[in-house]
Homo-oligomer: 283 residues x 4
């Protein structure tokens, strides 16, 4: 049995669901999941559909027919994923190790349907963890004077390993515009605050100073505007006057781990669609 996921968005029109579900029926697919959303303000229709095929289907052919009929009729943007083909994820890290341990632990425990062909870091500190989990580790320094060269190295590595998406697991460096455009909507960052509160550096210190009663973490796609990209997932935890900045940081680590792990899972299972700098997340 083969499983596919179909993601669609297009201008909202009458008859889209009927057309798509009829098509899937016609090609002998059995719909196991369907969720749709209409952005009424923007008049945009979104749909996520999963289907099983008991008889081995010729997916290349199915895609071609879909493209030439339904997709054309409704001017759709669409993606078609075969579940068995795992997306390839690159991890970018610096010196913080908690997200790295967490992701590699979950990956090793079989909780993520992905491959992790490599880790890239601007420091060598976390190489032992990569070794421990047997993942190739590349040290690509990112000092001001060598940014262009670093970018070239990063891109070469990503292409060599045919990377589909990048996760910044507390990678404390800027991503260059070129890399962002190469991996548009495919670079996931974890920011250690409840965005849009406390963007930029040292959010836990700012949160402590402001006296908030709740801190958060935010996972979002990277765009050229720092901490302004489409939000995938957020979560929060309570703090109080008894907590120091160090406590905020410690509690925050738990949030960062969990929120980033959820975002990776959602993205890799093709549950996130992006439109108008926001996300539609089909749970």
């Amino acid at each position: 049995m083969q499983k596919i996921t179909l993601l669609i968005h297009c201008k909202d029109q009458k008859g889209i669901i009927a057309a798509v579900t009829s098509f899937i029926s016609k090609v002998e697919g059995n719909i196991t999941y369907l969720d749709q959303h209409v952005d009424v303000e923007q008049n945009v229709f979104f749909m996520r559909l999963e289907s099983e095929f008991l008889i081995a289907a010729d997916f290349a052919n199915v895609k071609t027919i879909f493209e030439q009929t339904i997709a054309k009729d409704f001017s759709m943007s669409w993606d078609f994923y075969v579940k068995e083909i795992k997306p390839k994820m690159a991890l970018f890290v610096s010196k913080y190790n908690h997200c790295l341990y967490d992701i590699l632990g979950r990956f090793s425990a079989g909780e993520l349907n992905i491959e992790i062909p490599l880790i890239i870091s601007n420091h060598n500190d976390l190489k032992p963890i990569a070794d421990q989990f047997n993942v190739p580790f590349y040290h690509v320094p990112f000092a001001k004077e060598c940014r262009e060269e670093a970018e070239q190295q990063q891109i070469a590595l990503l292409q060599k390993y045919q990377i589909n998406f990048i996760v910044l697991a507390r990678y404390m460096q800027i991503i260059t515009p070129k890399l962002i455009s190469l991996y548009e909507n495919n670079i996931i960052n974890i920011h250690h605050s409840f965005l849009p509160a406390f963007p930029g550096a040292k959010p836990y210190h700012s949160a402590f100073k402001r006296g908030v009663k709740i801190i958060g973490a935010t996972s979002h796609y990277v765009t050229e505007e720092l901490d302004e990209g489409p939000i995938i997932e957020q979560d929060i935890t309570r703090v109080s006057h008894i907590n120091s900045v160090a406590d905020f940081i410690m509690k925050g680590k738990d949030l960062e781990r969990t929120v980033l792990a959820r975002a990776i899972k959602l993205h890799s299972e093709r549950k996130v669609m992006i439109y108008d700098n926001k996300t539609v997340v089909f749970y």
Copy 2:
């Protein structure tokens, strides 16, 4: 413009969504919301659909055609609601006033698309609140020796006011089997624990004794088995060793208020379907 809500469940089969959405298109409806769920274990299909009709539709005719075609073809159980027709809710109370104040406050603030034609109570204590909000109040004592008479009185009142569903806002008496069967899937209770933990009497005392770190409240449909009916909504709050039983009760009041209000809203907006003693809640 008129709005309708269509709820459907039936054996899962190919082509249901296509058939229903095509039907709505054909009768000039514009689908503004569609959500569906397949219970894979039970092989049951559930669907909730909202549609707008710009041209005044002859709903009686639409329903007849739907019944004779789609509903028949797929052996559907289905309900068809016109949004403008508000469901009529009866409130049953005893002596606790916090849920009553909350519901009447929300109702007065225009947050609930219902009518509240009457309040029934086994005590007279809360009559002043009913008066304050100008809702007819009926005192129907429910002592052991007069249960049958009380049940008759209750049913007569519910029929007189053409009540669609009943909310037990901390009504501390048993609902008779006859009343339950008359209002099957239409009696909502709030239980002051995180069911199935602590069913029955004095759950806060039991929770305190057990030393839990979290307490909850549960809103569910009433069935003949006490606290065993389909759960609509639950929520929780943290407690700690510094909290006394009195604190549990006070914190619990907030939970009870909120959870019951959400359940009323979900039920009255036709977002809840019941199957196999569980609920499908379309948010």
Copy 3:
């Protein structure tokens, strides 16, 4: 039996707790609650203590002795409250009714140990609710051209009713600097966002536009800087792409109600201390 609450803050020094608890023992008080906090960065000590007195105590005398001994020795800022004396709260409202219903409902249900001698509003819309709950209602228009006069009227009313603290239950007007200074640390506002995200007007619209996955509400003391005062309580709820701005507003109402009610309870039970634009909240 009489109960008192003692709030203290001063420079952190050795022996404070020993001195205070010894003093309470000496005057025949039985400590039923003690919590303390040291702000290590600022080197400030905070303490909240509750004590029962079985024998009727001469509190005026107790206070004098405390002032002339312990408080003087440690250069303390301190407050001494007798539990039976309920604080008097004024409600300021405009046109939104959900917080007003909620507060008056809780008050009527006996959940708040306060008095509510009056409601002040810049509109007449909510007068019927005040009437319904039998609370004097004063219409004090606050147009640009009559601000000074309005401020005078407000202050006269607050003094006439010997008001201790003010709650802005979605009061959509500015509080004048004079009123803020008269009621320093005694004016509580509810802001309908997770501060410091989305200060100012229309936070739900901004949150929707930014595509956040969680919205919040914040109760804080009013200072001259808009939405910058010490935070008393915050809470959040999840939202998703299926929620419209109208949904944000509806879900937000529940947050606003609950967060404001908690802040009122904490403040009125003398559980909040303010220092350095932050709060110490003793639960």
Copy 4:
């Protein structure tokens, strides 16, 4: 600078705090944290105190004096911990790897002030993870016919490594009464439900069947009554009709990881006191 933690409980009496804080002052300690709790029903006083000593203190002598004066006067149960001496934790596992990866990841990241001298398992499956993190792994089969022998082996290993407390990281076997009594209040379990709901086997399946809207996890001390020991920490997550049992299990893994990690942290930092089958947790 040296840091100590003092835990006390005794019958509630006047003057305890004053006596203890005076004592710490006298021995030149600087109190950095003090929290206390009175169980009014049971008339028991609990206290947790942290103190710094700038001048190297003779702790043996301090303890002797404390024992012979304050502790004796008030008939105290007490514990005195020097922060630099890390507690030694043994991990018991079976076949589930998610908690093991999480704990070893946090430990390696320096988030836990403990030592982990060994892992004991009734299966060999997780040995590679122990190797990966360089922790000695002992395979102690626990079949019915060899329980006594297994118990002897377990106890011998625990004694050899001078283990202070045991964590059952989804160890799916019974702990023998002898081991429980040897490590009374020092064996921590993670149960994959919101206790007391769904004790025993297959709680996610039961939760799914009951149709709950929230699932939980509970970390508690092991006593002879299965899943009845004092609760240290609980947490929950939302589920809905779209979630299968497999989803419950996956979401539950995240809860189990987090709740167990918090319990380990609280226990190892001496923040938990046990009384009357409940815990006092000083955050």
